[in-house]
Amino acid sequence: MSGKNAFNRIEVRLAGEGGQGMILAGVILAEAAAIYDGKNIVQTQTYGPEARGGSSKAEVIISDGEIDYPEVINADFLVAMSQEACDKYASNLKKDGLLIVDSEKVRRVPLTNAIKLPITRMAVEATGKSITANVVSLGILVGLTNLVSREAIQKAIIARAPKGTEEVNQKALDRGLTAVEGLLSVKDKA
């Protein structure tokens, strides 16, 4: 992957508002990489004191080697689910980094080559629940990048899904994966 730097690190940032489940998405991505794909990971998070609202982000560093500094230095991948998240973190992306935004929540996108999809609306259409937008975003991220294997992300999502919500989460994942099936050129780049 060209996204790797000299330290063999891939840096992922998932950011949005508190309550959108972006920290959980980070945990699931980290579990997929660490438990099911056997990679080394460090997952960190930043959030405000509020239970809902405020800003919230998860970071996942994935590497085949040791990970010392645990936070993102320059992100390879950024998923922004709010305008504030996009404004705050887009400039930190690597030059060849990939930006994914929820196009109905992020109106001003600073990069011309960003992936813009109505992630929350896709979640509502697929599952009837806007809270599955975080899982849809994981589907998009994994579909575009091969950060972790599809088997790994699927197992990690199902393992984290509350009992009785497995099917809903599976639908959300599939919606994300199929939405980017045609965008192979991006995948090759990653």
Partner: protein, 373 residues
């Protein structure tokens, strides 16, 4: 156990269970709450007790009481609660009751910034309570270390009859890393020394068998007096200088004569280093990242990571000071342990790297110090 993704706070909880902790009293506070959450769920399964107390003063009081009753005990808190616990940390030190206090630091002073990291309580952990008291403070820098050093904290508390503080960074507390928890039975677990002398011969604060008196549990037939006042070997208050001085000296001696056992640190690439970074907690990871980058550019940089910050590993730091031309001390505070480093190696050799705004020190900040910019 299989590989799991574990949070630093959870690892502390498991470390406590592995070390034999069977009592937790606390008042939840960000960023330490996951420790209470985890132990409230797991302790009962191990036959232990979990109590949510009315505040942090009561929490540590309950831990001290449980420990006197023979049960290994722990509490966890953050800055504001740690401030309230200072009174009883002194009481535990004076009465020589083993206990473990976890403080996950947040940006202060006062309620500060609950979810932001800081290393601002380094001096408070050493000197927050009044009087010349002995204390041990351990400081993890990863999830596996959070587990391991919690076990060590209990072992040292029991072995030396002292409160032990596990000081943590918010980043380590909330970070998830791969961790394969070792089977509990594979770990070295130290229990306090009891006694088999007849109860009427027992001297609770005597020094006949060494600097750490045996400690039978309350309720086991050994009746003795415990007070925060200066006391004689039987535990009763005293104003006699020939009883006060030996107690002052023994309390210091029991720690200072065992530094080899207590001081934990790790040296990397220090042999040929003309610049050595001395760091602890999550900042040591920024330092190691910076060291690896600098080594790629042929800078001879070394790293001393401290896992025991109090007592201060003076000998190890002095040794670094003799071989290295320059010592860099990055801290997420305005310069606390740097004062000790300066004392040990000379102020002229020390370059401080500080920030106290709730953000981590980046490898770049340390690199700039290395390159003298």
């Amino acid at each position: 156990m299989a590989v799991t993704l574990m949070q630093g706070n959870e690892a502390v909880g498991w470390g406590a269970l592995a070390a034999g902790c069977r009592f937790y009293a606390g008042y939840p506070i960000t960023p330490s709450s996951e420790i209470a959450e985890m132990l409230s769920r797991e302790l009962p399964k191990y036959g232990g007790k979990f109590i949510q107390m009315e505040d942090e003063i009561a929490s540590l009081a309950a831990c001290i009481g449980a420990s006197v009753g023979g049960v290994k005990s722990m509490t966890a808190t953050s800055g504001p609660g740690f401030s309230l616990m200072q009174e009883h940390i002194g009481y535990a030190a004076m009465t020589e009751v083993p206990c473990v206090i976890v403080s996950v630091q947040r940006l202060g002073p006062s309620t500060g910034q609950p979810t932001s990291p800081s290393q601002g309580d380094v001096m408070q952990a050493r000197w927050g309570t009044h009087g010349d008291h002995p204390i041990i403070v351990l400081y993890p820098n990863s999830v596996p270390k959070a587990f391991g050093l919690t076990v060590t904290a209990f072992n040292l508390a029991e072995k030396y009859r002292t409160p032990v503080i596990l000081l943590m960074d918010e980043v380590i507390a909330h970070m998830r890393e791969r961790f394969e928890m070792p089977p509990f039975e594979s770990l070295t677990v130290i229990d306090r020394m009891g006694t088999n002398v007849p109860p009427e011969w027992y001297k609770p604060y005597g020094d006949t068998i060494g600097d750490v008196p045996p400690m039978p549990s309350f309720g086991s037939g050994y009746r003795y007096h415990i007070t925060g006042l200066f006391h004689d070997v039987m535990g009763y208050p005293t104003q006699r200088l020939d009883e006060i001085n030996p107690l002052v000296e023994r309390m210091q001696r029991k720690i200072n004569n065992h530094l080899e056992d207590i001081l934990l640190f790790e040296e990397e690439e220090t042999d040929d280093a003309n610049t050595v970074i001395i760091a602890y907690g999550v900042t040591s990871r920024s330092a190691r990242h910076a060291m690896r980058l600098a080594r790629n550019h042929r800078h001879n940089i070394g790293l001393l990571t401290l896992y025991t910050i109090w007592p201060f590993p003076e000998e190890a730091v002095m040794r670094i000071g003799r071989s290295a031309r320059r010592v860099i001390v990055p801290e997420m505070n305005l310069g606390q342990l740097a004062l000790e480093v300066e004392r040990a190696v000379g102020k002229h050799k020390v370059v401080r790297v500080n920030r106290a705004d709730g953000e981590m020190i980046s490898p770049q900040m340390i690199l700039q110090a290395i390159e003298g910019r």
